[in-house]
């Protein structure tokens, strides 16, 4: 029988795995804190 897979499964299944040791870049904002955060 043919069952339609949920999109999540497909997305998960077809997601290209990151290379070992891959570090995602820091989010572009907000930027660094120069003194302290209130």
């Amino acid at each position: 029988s043919v069952a339609k897979r949920a999109v999540a499964d497909v997305a998960q299944h077809d997601k290209v795995p990151h290379p070992v040791g891959f570090v995602p870049p820091p989010p572009p904002c907000p930027g660094k804190i120069r003194h302290f955060k209130i």
């Binding site: 907000p30 930027g31 209130i38």
Partner: protein, 253 residues
């Protein structure tokens, strides 16, 4: 094939920091009250291209109050950011800039400043004094007493009060009122003022001489008063392109 859209600017990119520095200098240069603010973090940046070398930049900045009054000639880089324990004041600013042919200009700015919460200060420093309201009677008494004390002992020009910058009150183990206020020299000597203080006027713009005083007044268990005033000397007034007031808890635009 249309050119790939430029990658969005990151908040720590050099161009973002250059825009933020320009904006902070603008805010401090157009503020007539309170203290200079230093950049703490760039919260967000959005760039909308208007064409070749013409961008509109929206900046969200998180600033912190420094110990330099806005009338002080001290460069911002040499102004100390108030520490957490000194009851810090934060400024949140939204600024709209234009960058045209590499030159920044501010199109609009709106800032809101507010003191850190007492709970936060108490958490870090249980015995640190907290900011007091600027119209607290003990604060007003301390400022008037300190200014009179300075004027009665100085050979400098008679000083008048411009504004109270900040004040805090400590209750234990001693009762201490600490105040900071901006002053201006008048056309009188302290001696003249004793005769007729009404004749003492602010110096004209081309001779204006502002200064800053700090004072602590102990009322219990003993009485003690310490006052220090410093005049900045005459400075060429900055162009007044709109007034931005930065008082704790006030909006400015």
């Amino acid at each position: 094939v249309p050119a790939a859209p430029l990658a969005p600017l990151g908040c720590d990119d050099p161009e973002s920091e250059a825009a933020a520095e320009f904006a902070v200098n603008y805010i401090n240069g157009h503020s007539h009250h309170g203290y200079k603010f230093a950049l703490n973090s760039i919260e967000n940046i959005r760039v909308i291209s208007q064409g070749l070398n013409n961008d509109i930049i929206f900046l969200e900045l998180d600033l912190l109050e420094t110990t330099c009054h806005v009338l002080s000639p001290t460069p911002l880089a040499n102004c100390t950011v108030r520490s957490f324990a000194q009851h810090a004041v934060e400024g949140d600013c939204d600024i709209k800039l234009q960058k045209l042919d590499g030159k920044f200009s501010v199109l609009a700015s709106k800032c809101h400043s507010h003191a850190d919460s007492s709970e936060d200060v108490r958490q870090v420093c249980p015995e640190c004094p907290l900011l007091a309201s600027l119209n607290n009677t003990e604060v007003l008494t301390a400022v008037a007493t300190a200014l009179n004390d300075h004027n009665s002992k100085t050979a400098d020009p008679y000083l008048i009060l411009l504004e109270i910058g900040r004040a805090n009150i400590q209750y234990e183990p001693a009762h201490i009122v600490s105040v900071e206020f901006a002053v201006a020299a008048t056309n009188c000597s302290a001696e003249d003022a004793k005769v007729s203080v009404e004749a003492c006027q602010l110096l004209p713009d081309d001779q204006s001489n502002f200064g800053f005083c700090t004072a602590t007044m102990v009322t219990r268990p003993s009485q003690d008063l310490r006052v220090g005033c410093q005049l900045y000397g005459h400075q060429v007034p900055t162009p007044d392109a709109g007034v931005i007031y930065s008082h704790p808890g006030h909006d400015t635009s």
